[in-house]
């Protein structure tokens, strides 16, 4: 190591220790030397009710299940999360290994009509590149989500706090263990603030086939993002209609104020699953009410299980950012291996039609898991 990035902090060291512990806890039984029954089916990762009572020590007895968190008996307290380590090499740059995400979930369940959820995220914890530099130049700790849910019926629940903005599909499931590629489509992060701090009404009607989210932000964002769109006020809606089994169609409208200007965004999304195939697409168009102009983008992604637990993935995206000459076409080709239901290895190569300040061409891979 001949150089270091500035700013290695005690917090990051603690986060790294935590990451090591959670990694160990999530290893297959033979490696972790724990006593979990290795013969269990891979998806046997569910909570079981017990008969203990609040004053009984068993009420708080911890029970860990890989990919489903640490449950403290019948108390309703659950700790969980996910993490991701990435290896990438953008064209013309050194290769990098990054411990990119460590997200901790703190959940409180067990009430009939109320639940609490929070996600605390450490980003860019450690970065080592092939030129010998090590550090974490963009490290960050943030409250990614923090909200309470008041559930009145299947048709109405109210969420209050900081939550993921329900634009399309990717943003609300963006965790690395849940998506097919290490890279993220531009259309799912560039045009809008990924979080909203406010109130959201959600529910479903028509026997669950039509779902809705209606949300608003009336205060400043709790911990606004360091770059990109920073919404200070927002309001919008997302509808999802399951038209036939395996196929659903969604639509989004979002108005938000950023940098003193109001923007209006409209979007469409769709998801189709049939046997070993999954197809997902999103399109957004947004325009500023002032002089900012408009931008739009769309992607189409296909994933197919080609062998047991092994998937081929392909995605095409076009994104036309505000301003002349800022559009880019990108193709991502890759694969994924899911050795366990809660873990995934991903590799991919991203090709661009020309260099862009929005994203880079190159190789990316990651190992991510829920814990």
């Amino acid at each position: 190591m001949n150089q270091t990035y500035p700013g290695v902090k005690v917090g990051k060291a603690l986060a790294f220790v935590l990451w090591c512990l959670t990694t160990w806890a999530s290893l297959p039984p033979a490696l972790a030397q724990n006593t979990t029954d290795a013969t269990k089916a891979p998806d046997s990762i569910e909570a079981e009710p017990s008969t203990s009572r609040p004053l009984d020590l068993r009420y708080w007895q911890p029970r860990y299940q890989a990919g489903r968190g640490l449950h403290f008996g019948d108390s309703g307290l659950v700790l969980g999360g996910y993490t991701s380590i990435d290896l990438s090499r953008d064209e013309g740059r050194p290769a990098e290994v990054v411990l990119d995400d460590l997200s901790l979930f703190v959940m409180l369940q067990g009430f009939e009509r109320f639940s609490f959820f929070s996600e605390l995220e450490f980003e860019d914890l450690i970065r080592v590149d092939s030129d010998g530099r090590a550090g974490s130049p963009e490290d960050r700790f943030e409250i990614e989500r923090l909200y309470g849910v008041f559930s009145f019926s299947d048709q109405l629940e109210v969420r209050v706090g900081k939550f993921l903005t329900p634009v399309g599909r990717w943003n609300v499931i963006h965790a690395q263990p849940l998506v097919w590629t290490t890279s993220r489509p531009l259309v799912t992060e560039v045009p809008f603030d990924e979080n909203t701090t406010g109130v959201m009404f959600s529910g479903n009607v028509l026997d669950g086939r039509l779902g809705y989210d209606l949300f608003g932000q009336f205060t400043n964002q709790l911990e606004p993002p360091p770059r990109g769109v920073q919404a200070s006020r927002a309001g919008g809606a997302h509808l999802t209609l399951e038209t036939t089994p395996g196929f659903s169609l969604g639509g989004t409208y979002l108005a938000f104020r950023s940098g003193g200007e109001w923007f209006h965004l409209a979007g469409l999304d769709a998801l189709w699953r049939n046997g070993p195939l999954e197809w997902m697409t999103e399109l957004t168009f947004d325009e500023g009410a002032g002089a900012s102009g408009s931008q739009w983008g769309a992607y189409s992604q296909l994933a197919a299980e080609i062998l047991p637990k092994i998937f081929a993935v392909g995605r095409y995206e076009h994104f036309a950012k505000r301003g002349a000459g800022s559009s880019v076409n990108q193709v991502v080709l890759g694969g994924a291996f899911r050795p366990r239901p809660y873990a995934v290895f991903k590799i991919e190569y991203q090709i661009l039609d020309h260099t862009s300040d929005l994203t880079e061409a190159g190789f990316r891979s990651s190992f991510a898991f829920l814990f």
């Binding site: 089916a41 998806d43 990762i45 909570a47 079981e48 990919g67 659950v78 299947d154």
Partner: protein
């Protein structure tokens, strides 16, 4: 009770009975034969789809139904909780529970 409603309940897309009380669905353990037959019959999805589905729900703080490891345990639980729903072999049914669906 329709197969569609059972599917919604076991995927936790429907979480309340019509009278507003919360539904408590109970599963057999994932590796068991009754569970696999139930998933095929009522959830209709590939195993992989269900794993992806519950991973996504976990990301939002929603967990799969709790599991019990025998027909007898499920019957006792359902008999003791009027909001509970479970499945057992037809020849284990007695007067302590109400049958709401009898698949072919």
């Amino acid at each position: 009770m329709s197969a569609d409603e059972i599917e919604r309940i076991y995927l936790k897309r429907q979480r309340y009975w019509k009278d507003g009380k919360p539904v408590v669905p109970i599963n057999r353990e994932a590796a068991s034969t009754p569970r696999q037959r139930f998933d095929r019959k009522f959830l209709g999805s590939a195993k992989l789809d269900l794993i992806a589905y519950w991973n996504q729900r976990y990301f939002h703080g929603v967990f799969p139904p709790a599991t019990l490891e025998s027909d007898e345990a499920i019957k006792r639980y359902v008999a003791s909780d009027p909001n509970a729903l479970g499945y057992i072999a037809a020849d284990r049914v007695d007067d302590s529970v109400i049958v709401v669906n009898r698949p072919d």
